[in-house]
């Protein structure tokens, strides 16, 4: 049965090849999407199996000497942690691929050329990143993932897209180089050319226990690499440019799945390969708090639907990393059970974010598909025109805003319940609470500007085709299901955390029928939803039919713009808390200034290099100086 690991590989490779070979690109993209959907289903199957038994598949590529031996054996392995992420890839990949069947119809032929080939490979590379059981191959797949996704970002070939893609590629490549350094260091110095995870988890903790300096260096390199890819705040600037430019189903995958890959890496590395460290946990928490705050504050000022979602992705990564950091800190400080719950919350939020952010990107895509614009000010009152999309969007909005009892609330609630209990982590919990309200504000704006506010001029559109609304509905349903029945996802996640060697028993966290952290917090989502639903329903029936009359505008019948512009939302609040934006702008200016200086130096160096004589003379002088100095020292 371990062969099952290879099914997604076959399917997506066939998809990519067909997408490349078929000369007419619309059918090519269609087939690529279809096969990727099947590949995603296969990934789901792999993930499902992986929860119950570990899957393992080894492959020897060639026979070679010792240095290349590292690359020789490709080992695919699915354990519970990978299964969680595989499930995310599978579900969202499936939805995004099905969605893509119709969605890409409105693209030109030439623009689809890049898409048809790279889209299956993008999903495949993410899959391989997660199933790879070898650090060297991991980094290879990681780089491939960046490469393929970069092609998808620029697929529209507009100037903006190409700039964004370039920025994205440069930043994530630079980040990946730090990762590469760390990997090379680990394989060469620490574990002596053993790169498979099995031996790493045995050897590395022992090595790190002895070499603290090495641990610090590797951790920093790894954090930088992972944070760039996950768009943690000081290193996030590529994401809001890159994600909106990709086709919407790819944006859904980029935001929903790809930025979770570094989370997987961090879980893998910091919890199994290295001793759980309080310092690292604290660093991650601080970064998470920054991410939360800046992500949401910048999401608050966006007027472009996909850009708003992209900034919100930055913020949501903050929640996930907060859970991870808090979990590590709490475990290291001896609060094992609280820490484990925080880790479960982080994993749960990862899954939840994938569901609702994927959903919201698909919604933004549907709106773009029908109206041709992403600008919130050009949209309005689409609720009656696109009711299914609107309902799905409402579910996504309420989930991400953390309205009980949807899934976003449950995972956030778990985060609060763990972080608020310890004085040292409580600040981060408080920030998370505040940011949650801000998220709600962001998505009130997102939803109301698109679906309820009066439009600038009446938009004559209809509902998107079945293959587009069905994935949205599926994701919305999953959001509701995981919110009402959190045990469905919490049980596997608890066993996942247990499999990482962190004990979490039923007495620490019971999930059925209510989620209870004994003595600390408890929550019964089903009861809440049932009560609200029943009361509302009874009242709605009791009220009955509602008459319709024209809207009251003080007796005036002129054609006025009654629309609150997207840029006008929460103006007072933003003004009163403007120092956050000022700080952000100051940092941006600083970085830009530094970059200008670096460029100047590089340019002057380049100019100098044209003057060969001067260069040679200079080099000779420097050499002479060095010889004299060194010689003098030797004497």
């Amino acid at each position: 049965m371990n062969q099952a690991i290879l099914w997604p590989v076959y399917l997506s490779v066939i998809g990519a090849v067909l997408g490349w070979l078929i000369p007419r690109k619309k059918p090519a993209a269609f087939i690529a999407n279809l096969l990727t959907a099947f590949a995603s289903l296969a990934i789901c199957i792999v993930a499902y199996r992986g929860f119950f038994s570990e899957l393992h598949f080894g492959l020897r590529l060639f026979n070679a000497g010792a240095p290349l031996n590292l690359l020789n054996s490709v080992i695919f392995h699915v354990d519970k942690l990978s299964a969680v992420f595989l499930a995310i890839i599978g579900v969202l990949g499936f939805c995004a691929s099905i969605y893509g069947l119709s969605y890409l119809g409105h693209y030109d032929e030439e623009k689809l050329a890049l898409y048809a080939f790279h889209y299956p490979l993008f999903i495949l590379s993410m899959y391989l990143v997660v199933v790879s059981w070898n650090l060297i191959w991991f980094i290879v797949f990681w780089e491939l993932m960046t490469l393929f996704s970069q092609f998808l970002v620029v697929c529209e070939r507009s100037e903006r897209a190409i700039k964004a893609g370039y920025k994205y590629f440069c930043m994530t490549k630079a980040g990946a180089d730090f990762l590469l350094l760390a990997v090379v260091f680990v394989t060469l110095k620490a574990v002596g050319l053993h790169a498979d995870y099995g031996s790493l988890s045995k050897l590395l903790p022992v090595y790190f226990a002895e070499h603290e300096g090495a641990f610090a260096a590797i951790t920093i390199a790894l954090l930088i690499g992972a944070c760039v890819k996950a768009a943690v705040v000081p290193l996030h600037s590529w994401l809001p440019d890159a994600h909106p430019e990709a086709p919407s189903n790819v944006s859904a995958l980029l935001s929903g799945v790809m930025i979770k890959m570094p989370i997987y890496l961090m879980f893998r590395f910091f919890l199994t390969f290295a001793p759980v460290s309080a310092t690292v946990g604290l660093i991650i928490m601080v970064l998470a708090a920054l991410t939360l705050l800046f992500g949401v504050m910048y999401a608050l000022i966006q007027t472009d639907s996909k850009r708003l979602l992209a900034f919100s992705s930055v913020e949501q990564i903050g929640y996930i990393t907060l859970g991870l950091g808090a979990g590590m800190w709490l475990i290291a400080m001896g609060h094992e059970s609280l820490g484990a719950i925080a880790l479960v919350a982080a994993l749960f939020h990862t899954a939840n974010h994938a569901l609702y952010k994927g959903l919201l990107f698909l919604v933004a895509g549907s709106v773009l598909f029908r109206t041709g614009t992403r600008l919130l000010d050009r949209l309005g009152r689409l609720f009656s025109k696109m009711p299914l999309t609107a309902v799905a969007a409402l579910v996504g909005t309420l989930s991400i805003a953390g309205i009980p009892p949807l899934n976003g609330f449950v995972s956030k609630w778990m985060l609060y319940s763990t972080t608020l209990m310890q004085p040292q982590t409580s600040l981060f919990g408080a920030i998370a609470l505040v940011v949650s309200a801000l998220t709600a504000a962001v998505f009130v704006k997102f939803f109301t500007t698109i679906f309820t506010q009066p439009p600038e001029k009446e938009l004559d559109v209809k509902e998107v085709p079945f293959t587009m609304w069905a994935p949205q509905m599926l994701l919305a349903l999953l959001c509701i299901t995981f919110g009402i029945f959190p045990f469905l996802s919490l049980r596997p996640l608890i066993s996942t955390v247990n499999s990482l060697g962190i004990a979490l028993s039923r007495s620490d966290l019971s999930v059925y029928p209510c989620v209870v952290i004994p003595g600390t917090a408890n929550l019964a989502p089903i009861v809440v939803i049932a009560l609200i639903f029943i009361i509302t329903l009874v009242l709605a029936i009791a009220i009955g039919k509602v008459q319709a009359k024209p809207v009251w505008t003080c007796g005036n019948r002129d054609m006025l713009n009654l629309r609150l512009a997207a840029s006008a939302y929460y103006q007072r609040f933003r003004k009163e808390f403007g120092f956050i934006y000022e700080f952000g702008t100051a940092v941006q200016n600083l970085i830009e200034g530094l970059w200008q200086q670096v460029r100047l130096i590089c340019e002057s160096y380049e100019r100098l290099s044209y003057r060969l004589n001067a260069m040679l003379t200079g080099a000779v002088i420097i050499l002479l100086l060095m010889v004299i100095l060194l010689g003098g020292k030797a004497l």
């Binding site: 600038e456 001029k457 003080c554 002129d558 713009n561 629309r563 512009a565 006008a568 103006q571 007072r572």
Partner: protein, 540 residues
């Protein structure tokens, strides 16, 4: 000084007395003359278009200028045979509405007017029908035309918030279109005259000279009395009448009572608009006593139905006078006490400080009047500058504040309340004995008369041309709000939407308050009477 200017532009003096001067100029000289007058300190007080064909002339436009410095009203007449006249709006913005009104009502054309659009007539009024021409009957009803929906270009960056015509913060139908960016007002447009009642036509068409005061006081529910006084002053001016001294004093007393109740009401409304309902209630509680005084003096809770061309219809007897003096003393103490408490509320004062600022230059150009002008640093008051009734014999101060914000307007009105108390006490105690009415007088026809009073909200100017058979040929009242409203969009710009109602209210729009209370129990009216009594009745 004025004579020199007038001579320079070839003006012919038609009539003059100590307070006003009527001249006629050639239409080519009008604009330079107006510019010169504006530069030398005159503001635009009133503009009246007249269909003079019935007097044997053509159409004419009377521009009324006023100057505090020269203590003079200057009526400049220009005639036209072809309905075309030069516009003076480019040199005096304050004449904008007056000229547009003449366009609407008489079909005059003003060449060079910056916005020659309809002002008064509704959109469904047919074109080419001019209600104030003499051939148009007062009871004629033209066919309405289909109203075209306005197709102004839509803006997306701002919300075009309709404030009115029916808005709870506005007690009269006015329409402000406020452009709001978030919470900040970027622009405002005004459209009014939703309840133009055709009073001028009615007066010209079917009332006699002595009936008009009763119509004039119904122009406004708050400052009605000052309108009837202004009208009677205008007719008296035209006929050269002089009232008995006692009537003049009674007029002052009633005018000041009107000012008192109007200002107290306004202060209450301001507090209500600020969400401070307790202040509103207390101010109105005090005001209730002013209404009692009015009732004691006139038989009406409002000072209505008391004035005729010849003087007052009712005298004030000694016992009433003493009771009023006593009540006034109590009232003054109570006002000062409550006001001291309220002015001590820092948050409340901060709320109105620095909002709705009207700079002095704008105020002057638009001819802004009364407390609004005084709060913008313009030292103007008809009572002092163009004394009428007995004001020249009484002592009072004219408060002036230079800030130009809503707080300044509040302070000006508060100071005026205190001055009114002083004026009332002086007038009541110094009132001479004698008649209150002259009965035998004749009113020549075709004479121009001008009457001006200082209403609670500013200068009222009534323009009268007397007609035959003791009728008015032309009567044009100009209420202060007519000059003050165009300044509101200037005040609104850059302010918060939260401050819009208070800024609009700061020029003191008015609403009728002459109701009596009826107590209804089990569906039956069981008692009717004044409010104060009614409250006691309910308490029983």
């Amino acid at each position: 000084m004025v004579d020199k200017i007038l001579a320079e532009y070839g003006a012919v003096v038609l009539d003059r007395n100590a307070k006003r001067l009527v001249v006629q100029v050639d239409d080519k000289q009008l604009r330079p003359l107006a510019e010169k007058l504006f530069e030398s300190g005159f503001y635009y007080a009133n503009g009246v278009g007249v269909d003079e064909r019935g007097l044997g002339h053509d159409f004419a436009m009377y521009h009324v200028f006023a100057s505090e410095k020269d203590k003079l009203y200057l009526v400049v007449k220009v005639s036209t045979s072809n309905l075309k006249l030069p516009s003076i709006t480019p040199v005096i913005p304050g004449s904008n509405w007056a000229e547009r009104e003449a366009m609407d009502m008489l079909g005059l054309e003003f060449e060079g007017h910056p916005e020659p659009e309809r002002l008064i007539l509704p959109d469904d009024w047919p074109k080419g029908v001019y209600p104030l021409r003499k051939e148009f009957d007062y009871n004629e009803r033209p066919e309405f035309v289909e109203r075209k929906p306005e197709s102004t270009p839509q803006r997306t960056d701002v919300v075009q918030l309709p404030l009115g015509p029916y808005h709870p913060a506005l007690h009269e139908p006015e329409y402000f279109e406020i452009h709001v960016d978030g919470e900040v007002i970027t622009d405002a447009k005004y459209r009014g005259f939703h309840i133009h009642r055709g009073m001028e036509k009615l007066a010209e068409g079917r009332l006699t000279l002595n009936q008009v005061p009763f119509l004039a006081e119904r122009i406004c529910g708050i400052c009605g009395f000052t309108h009837s006084i202004a009208y009677c002053q205008a007719v008296a001016d035209a006929a050269g009448l002089d009232w008995p001294e006692r009537a003049k004093y009674i007029g002052v007393i009633l005018l000041e009572i009107e000012r008192l109740h109007s200002h107290l009401l306004w202060v209450g409304v301001v507090f209500h608009l600020l969400g401070f309902d307790s202040g509103f209630m207390h101010m109105w509680r005090i005001r209730e006593k002013v209404m009692d005084i009015a009732e004691a003096l006139t038989g009406n809770r409002k000072t209505y139905g008391l004035v005729l061309i010849g003087g007052m219809r009712r005298d004030i007897d000694e016992s009433r006078k003493n009771w009023v003096l006593k009540t006034l003393t109590e009232l003054r103490e109570e006002t000062e006490r409550v006001s001291k408490d309220i002015f001590g509320m820092k948050e409340l004062i901060n709320r109105i400080k620095g909002i709705g600022v009207l700079p002095k230059e704008d105020a002057r150009a638009l001819g802004v009047l009364g407390p609004v002008a005084r709060a913008s640093g313009i030292d103007t008051d008809v009572r002092r500058d163009h004394p009428y009734l007995a004001y020249d014999k009484l002592d009072f101060k004219v408060p002036v504040y230079p800030e130009g914000d809503v707080l300044a307007r509040l302070l000006v009105r508060y100071d005026e309340i205190i001055e009114s108390f002083r004026l009332l006490e002086q007038a009541l105690s110094e009132m001479p004995q004698g008649d209150v009415m002259i009965e035998d007088y004749t009113i020549p026809s075709g004479r121009v008369g001008l009457g001006a009073t200082e209403a609670p909200r500013g200068e009222d100017v009534h323009f009268v041309i007397t007609g035959v058979e003791s009728k008015v040929y032309r009567w044009h009242p100009r209420a202060p709000t007519y000059n003050n409203l165009p300044s509101v969009p200037i005040m609104l710009r850059g302010n918060n939407i939260a401050d819009a109602p208070i800024i609009i209210a700061s020029i003191d729009p008015c609403f009728s308050c002459t109701d009596h209370v009826a107590i209804v129990r089990k569906g039956k009216v069981i008692w009717k009477g004044p409010l104060g009594e009614g409250v006691k009745q309910v308490g029983r």
